[in-house]
Amino acid sequence: MGRRRRPVDPAAGARAGALPEAIAALSQSLPSGPSPEIFRRAKFDRPEATPALWQLLFRVLAPLPLDNRLASLAPEVQARLVKSALRSQGYPRLALAQLPEDGSQGSRELLLALSWLLARGPVLEQMLAQTRVPLGDEMTVCQCEALASPGPPAPQVRAEDPVDVRHVQWLMGKLRFRWRQLVSSQQEQCTLLSKIHLYTSGCHGDHSLGHLSVAEAEMLRDPEGGQQLLRTLECENRRLEAVLAWRRTELVFWRWMDTVLDTCVLGVPAAASQGTFLPQIPECSGGVLELVAWELRALQEELQEAAEHRRAAWEAKAGGCGRGPEWSAVRRASREAVEKELGALRRCWEQDRDPAQPHVPHRLVRREDGAAGDRDLRAAEVIRTLRSQEACLEAVLHQLQGQCRQELARLAGALPGLIWIPPPGR
């Protein structure tokens, strides 16, 4: 298993030689990772390893891009945020919550926390993907990030004065204007992008790509920037190699972590105080659950109505049909087919990893014939999907607006002596 670069270690057996390799790979693949020495010290709970591990955990848990606000927080605040983040992810050990935040002790616990995160998911790969250098012109098909709100709102308290509803109208108008701006800017960008691709077709070394991307053309136009790009690319390649090396050698790391866990003193006091003050965010998942509940209930009503209607129509039409054996065989076959389809549908949302991967950014490539490989997406198909999504969303919006119209008509109708003239339709 694995390649062993050094001769068999006489003291600890053949496997031990792979551990430093694994730890070195891990430390190289982490952004500004701590030196392998820190890991070793942490096993023995040495205090000097603690600050580096707090910082590392913060880097791993904080959302990227790491803006100045987060990066410039004091170490104590960072430690507190780390604790809170770990708890929200369900970190089982209570000892972490009790660690002092000044970085004076607890390196072993922090090492355990780091390993816990690494064991649960592809943390290193995700971090790499977030800081990736995009060489091509990229587009994510799924637009959930396109207009996502930029992180938690600024901590300053907004004006809490009561607001006139006309101010709300004005803001809405402003939003509509920004939408229109976005549309026209987007159109222009597509035109330009398409031109750049067209004009540089045929000059890329990689024939599957065929033309340059904006980043590549920019590199040619501005050699200094190009050097910068090259350096960043080199760094990324090194980290990629480190992660691959880590994946090859990580088994021995996990065995080692088991020993670290064993050295921990059991008998942590059960009742840990969870009363540390934590910065709150205004939105909590309770609100989202309510929205989902609302949607599901609305959907249920629609389905109920439709299904009952169809069932009644069916009974009326086919109720008189014979109940011969062939009829029941056909019915069974239909039932099985429908069950299979619906089962596939269910799998779509139950498994986390969507095979279509619409979230992964794809590199835009212009080809006259539009030919695409197996794993590539074709624009025409994506357009179809998006159109159906658009239709669905429009239906939802109209339905909501219709509900409001009815409600407002009811409320306004209570007031006699007024004529309400709706605005001219589209």
């Binding site: 992810q89 089982p92 000892a95 355990l112 790969e125 995700q126 637009q143 959930c144 992180g151 709102p153 809490e160 009561p162 607001v163 006139d164 509803v165 809405m172 920004r178 976005l182 800017s185 159109q187 960008q189 330009l192 398409s194 031109k195 750049i196 540089t200 053309a217 090259l230 690319l233 390649n237 691959l244 088994l251 910065p279 939105e283 998942s285 989202v288 659950l289 949607e295 599901l296 959907l299 629609e302 439709a306 169809r310 429908v338 590199r363 014939d369 590539d376 624009a379 994506v382 357009i383 998006l386 658009e390 239906a395 939802v396 909501l400 607006q401 407002l408 002596g417 007024l418 003239i421």
Partner: protein, 433 residues
């Protein structure tokens, strides 16, 4: 006036939406800057070194700069550009006979540039430090154009152009090919090379070898990584699971309850379920069954979908109960759970190089426009729900009569039913005596 907490929530939501749009607009404009610059004539490498590095503050092509050039200046600059181009054309026709077509020779340039010569910076390339005759090197086709000074006014206006960073449009006609240096005697005239444009010479570009090597290494490493992830070694997975279990048992803490992240993930799955079910329902309802067997299948599907929705609701009740009894602390650092109904929001797999192939500019535009439209619809629906939960109770509750209530009603109608686009009219119907 709306009640205080209602105002606060509405403001927060609207401001969030506005900020999101602003951020996206910023990204687009940045990208547009780069693209426009690429499509114009490329500046030579020499002047690039002296170009001030564009920081985030110096928005050179800011569409609405604080120091907006006055329309007067713009017009003058436009006239001057045209006059200069005309002069060049005239001169070229005069000296056409004497000039031969030579490859750009560079050495004689420096001797020739008289002190008064200015590098004619076309107004489309702002930010260039105009006013120094520059050399070019035979880089990949970058070249320099020069023109003799035409007097003081020109220099003034060009420096004005620099200061105000005027852009007369990305696709304004570029200075015609081969503005020649007219100061030199025709016999010794080296050819001023044509301005390099992507349109004419783009297909001649070649990426440097070092970059190509590094980029292909990068692509292959990513591919290795993603294939390694999908075919995870069972030994390592087993070791990890074992470790996690050990952690759990060694913690001595309470039984694992649902963490905030798990609730979020589950909620996301339910969202996705809702969307998929709804889409499927629409498909079934819009399909016209041909025969009774299809009708039967359609009926079964609808009933099946109904059952699935029921199951989802049941799961949601369970989640709600779990959340209520032990409210999971929300993560203060993560993104607020932006539940968008159109996307499932699954776990992020590692990136792997994949392509999105398009075949024409039209197709790309349609694709991008649709994508933006879906995102905007998402946002609009979210706002609609927020407005409904906030405004309708206010309208119901107010017992005002007369103009204030009418204002509120009209505003509510406009926001809720017309997306803020149109406003209805209210007429008082005075009874005729």
């Amino acid at each position: 006036m709306l009640p205080r907490d209602c105002s606060r929530r509405l403001m927060a939501e609207l401001q969030g939406a506005l900020d999101a749009c602003a951020e996206r607009q910023l990204q687009l404009e940045q990208s547009l800057r780069v693209c426009r610059r690429l499509l114009q004539a490329w500046e030579p490498t020499e002047t690039r070194a002296s170009e001030p590095p564009p920081g985030p503050e110096t928005n050179e092509e800011d569409p609405s700069p604080a120091c907006a050039p006055s329309p007067q200046d713009l017009k003058e600059l436009e006239f001057l550009t045209q006059a200069l181009e005309k002069a060049v054309r005239v001169r070229r026709s005069i000296t056409m006979a004497g000039e031969t077509d030579k490859a750009p020779s560079l050495k004689s340039r420096s001797t020739v540039a008289p002190p008064g010569a200015i590098a004619f910076a076309p107004p489309q390339t702002p930010g260039q430090a105009g006013g120094h005759a520059s050399d070019t090197r035979p880089t990949k086709g970058s070249c320099q154009t020069t023109v003799p000074p035409k007097g003081h006014s020109e220099r003034q206006l060009l420096s004005l152009g620099d200061k105000t960073r005027v852009r007369t449009g990305a696709r304004a006609p570029r200075p015609g090919p081969g503005l020649r240096d007219q100061q030199m005697a025709p016999s010794a005239a080296p050819k001023a090379p044509k301005a390099f444009t992507l349109k004419e010479k783009g297909h001649l570009l070649r990426l440097p070898a070092a970059f190509r090597k590094m980029a292909s290494q990068n692509a292959s490493l990513w591919a290795q990584l993603s294939s390694m992830q999908t075919s995870d070694s069972t030994d390592a997975t087993a070791a990890k699971t074992q470790f996690l279990q050990n952690m759990q048992t060694a913690s001595g803490g309470p039984q694992p309850r649902l963490s905030a992240q798990e609730v979020e993930a589950e909620t996301g799955r339910l969202w996705k379920a809702c969307t998929l079910l709804r889409l499927r329902m629409r498909e079934e309802l819009s399909a016209a069954p041909m025969d009774w067997m299809q009708e039967y299948r359609c009926l079964l599907t609808l009933e099946g979908l109904q059952a699935m929705v029921g199951q989802c609701l049941h799961r949601l009740q369970e989640l709600r109960a779990a959340v209520a009894e032990q409210p999971p602390r929300p993560c203060p650092m993560g993104r607020p759970p932006r539940a968008s109904p159109s996307c499932g929001g699954g776990a992020d797999p590692a990136w792997s190089p994949q392509l999105l192939v398009y075949s024409s500019a039209q197709e790309l535009q349609t694709l991008a426009a649709l994508r933006l439209r879906v995102a905007m619809l998402d946002q609009q629906i979210h706002l609609e729900k927020v407005l409904m939960t906030e405004l309708l109770p206010v309208v119901r509750a107010t017992q005002l009569q007369g103009p204030p209530w009418l204002t509120l009603c009209r505003a509510a109608h406009s926001l809720l039913c017309e997306g803020g686009a149109r406003i209805l009219t209210v007429l008082r119907d005075d009874p005729v005596d």
